[in-house]
């Protein structure tokens, strides 16, 4: 029997307090996610249960019990306190998917810090923008990645503490502290007495314009994360769960740390890049029962064929879910054929903090559909012109939610105007709290969908220029700004281009400064320039040189026109296009 039992029945009389039942929560307990994922599980008698099974490159392996999580996260909490980090300070976690990442996340929360995980493949510029915006006080990283921090340190006056948690201590520079978490087991630590609205996690997300925005979450997000983990991921006490996401992104924290551990469930982490054979072997060896992955990975596995699947014993697998981008119907059908189970698509985003529209165990699946709103979530598709909910099945509009669910982001850090702009009907002077608590507003997700006659949602695409590549949102403005820093590039426009595996990849249109000729080596130079300054995800997979970029008469580059060419779509009204 699944945890949700019946989706339709759960809709009746729904209350978010169901999360407290799931967690066996008593009033008066400490609402601190770091504590709840470690100390609390131990206190409930599961100290010796395996919490983390980790594998890295080669033969590297490690295992940690919930008691290990407890004492080692205490160690990180004490370390940060000793370094002068105070509750509310941002603590960046900038490392690969090594065990210290998961443990230090809990440690930062335990001492009241705001955990700010960042994708370890970010280059100098991407790192600088996010650390500067967050006024990050401390960063935990590894010898491999500390070099990027060193390059930008003099531009980050708020950053006082650099802690290197893995590597060779002899390679550190002055002012850097080496810390091996396994050598610091701290039995007792008094956790920060956080409340429902205490800040917990800060994730940066890209938009169409401007630099990335910091979506601020709070400790009471745990109610949404716990309940969706229970009802959608359907985790049971004896499960071995694998979430393939990197905690540098929201899935990797909401469901790669918080969801499973607050429920006391064993999870696995594989930190060795993607190959189909390695993934299947990992699932076979660890007898993974519940698997939460992404369409890009699933399509890559499909491409590598069924024979590889058959060479592995994956009989332990009982439940599969997917997130990050729309899961195409072919992938759903394929998974049923080779694994005997369909991947259940889930839709949510950094700002929502937890799943919003999903498929459920026991509910009929329509391959290619996003599913239905989670109980307690009021969702709609808003008319593109009037912003009123549409009633006609199949009509495309904006996916929107009534605000107020527990895991909803509380603000974009220092950008209240941008936060307000996400709410249809918000007054010009509305505070973030007023927006969040006004039941008459709609929070608009930025994605388009339609609803069929049975109430299933069907994803159509983004409503803006943000590029979704392999489940990661990439902002065109950030890439364009970086491109024109290259010595050869005069102007740049960036759009998403269709891609069979990644859904979209970055394509750049550029004009060159006089004296530069475009050839293979210049193209590679531009790619590497973006890879190193921003990230491999932002790196254009294709670059097209133009004599001039299409612009409006007022000089604004028409990305929409370029995108329509790539997607073979109607460009719409081009009356504002500048004449030759």
């Amino acid at each position: 029997m699944s945890n949700i039992k019946s989706y339709e029945e759960r809709l009746q009389g729904f209350d978010w307090d169901y999360a407290k039942e799931v967690l066996d929560w008593q009033d008066g307990e400490l609402l601190n996610i770091g504590h709840m994922c470690s100390d609390r599980i131990c206190a409930k008698g599961h100290a010796d249960k395996t919490a983390l099974i980790w594998e890295g490159f080669g033969d590297a392996t490690a295992q940690y019990t919930f008691n290990d999580l407890r004492v080692l996260s205490n160690g990180f909490a004490k370390l940060l306190q000793d370094q002068g980090v105070e509750p509310g300070d941002r603590v960046c976690l900038f490392m690969d998917k090594v065990p210290a990442l998961y443990v230090s996340f809990l440690g930062a929360l335990k001492m009241g810090g705001v955990a700010q995980p960042l994708f370890s493949a970010f280059g100098d510029d991407s790192l600088e923008v996010r650390l500067a915006s967050a006024e990050t006080k401390a960063i935990l990283t590894t010898q491999k990645h500390v070099k990027k921090v060193r390059k930008i340190l003099d531009k980050l006056p708020a950053l006082k503490t650099i802690i290197v948690v893995e590597g060779n201590p002899a390679k550190l520079k002055d002012g850097e502290l080496f810390y091996d978490m396994n050598e610091h087991r701290v039995e007792d630590f008094e956790c920060f007495q956080s409340g429902p609205e205490s800040q917990s996690v800060l994730h940066y997300t890209s938009g169409t314009t401007g630099q990335p925005k910091g979506a601020q979450h709070v400790h009471s997000s745990v109610w949404g994360q716990a309940l969706t983990t229970s009802w959608v991921l359907d985790l049971h006490d004896d499960d071995i769960y694998w979430c393939t996401a990197d905690p540098g992104w929201v899935t990797g924290t909401s469901y790669g740390i918080i969801g499973p551990w607050v429920l006391g469930v064993t999870q696995c982490v594989l930190d060795s890049g993607f190959t189909a054979a390695r993934w299947y072997k990992f699932m076979q060896d660890n007898k993974v029962t519940v698997w939460y992955s992404a369409p890009t990975a699933i399509r890559s596995l499909m491409r590598d064929g069924d024979d590889l699947v058959k060479k592995h014993d994956l009989s332990a697998l009982r439940h599969l879910c997917s997130v990050g981008e729309p899961l195409n119907a072919e992938a759903v059908v394929w998974s049923e054929q080779v694994f005997g189970k369909a991947f259940l698509d889930t839709f949510w985003q950094t700002e929502t903090g937890a799943m919003m529209i999903t498929n459920y165990p026991g509910m009929k699946i329509k391959p290619g559909s996003m599913g239905k709103p989670f109980p307690g979530i009021t969702a709609a598709v808003l008319d593109l012109k009037t912003n009123e909910p549409v009633d006609e099945p199949g009509t495309v509009g904006l996916i929107a939610f009534r605000p107020g669910w527990p895991s909803m982001f509380r603000e974009y850090r220092n950008q209240h105007d941008v936060y307000r702009s996400k709410f249809v009907g918000a007054a010009d002077d509305a505070t973030p709290e007023q927006c969040r608590l006004d039941p008459d507003l709609w929070y608009v997700s930025g994605d388009r969908a339609s609803i069929d006659a049975d109430g299933y949602y069907w994803f159509v695409g983004r409503d803006d220029d943000v590029i979704n590549t392999g489940g990661h949102l990439v902002g065109p403005f950030e890439i364009e700004s970086a491109l024109i820093e290259h010595e050869a590039i005069a102007e740049a426009a960036v759009v998403g281009k269709p891609d069979e595996v990644n859904m979209e990849v970055v394509k750049a249109f550029i004009t060159l400064h006089k004296g530069f000729e475009f050839d293979d080596m210049l193209e590679l130079s531009v790619m590497n320039f973006i890879r190193k300054s921003l990230s491999p995800l932002a790196m254009p997979q294709e670059i097209e040189v133009m004599e001039k970029l299409p612009k409006t008469r007022s000089g604004k580059i028409l990305r929409r026109y370029l995108r329509s060419i790539e997607w073979g779509e109607d460009a719409g009204d081009l009356s504002t296009l500048e004449d030759d």
Binding site: K147, S272, F274, S300, L524, N528, K532, S535, L537
Partner: protein, 82 residues
């Protein structure tokens, strides 16, 4: 083959090794598993190989293992040069 190895090694050092890094990188140095080349950055290394040697490397063969040393990279390139 020796010329190719030298070219690939030079490219890896130029693009992936920090100036202040004093570790020697050789034909047998682990690139991906040691963290010198991030697995996400393999894409640009693949593009370099394809453009430089006029080949097409299938994604299924451009694995972290195949890209882990200059020697294994060159073996892959030679295989696809036919």
């Amino acid at each position: 083959m020796d010329e190719m190895k030298a070219e690939v090694l030079e490219y890896v050092i130029e693009e992936y090794v920090d100036e202040d890094d004093d570790d020697e990188v050789t034909y047998d140095t682990a690139l991906i598993s040691s963290g010198i080349v991030d697995s996400f950055s393999m894409v640009s290394l693949k593009v370099f190989l394809e453009k430089k040697y006029k080949i097409s490397l299938p994604d299924s063969e451009a694995t972290p293992e195949a890209f882990d040393t200059v020697n294994s990279i060159c073996d892959l390139v030679v295989k696809h040069q036919g």
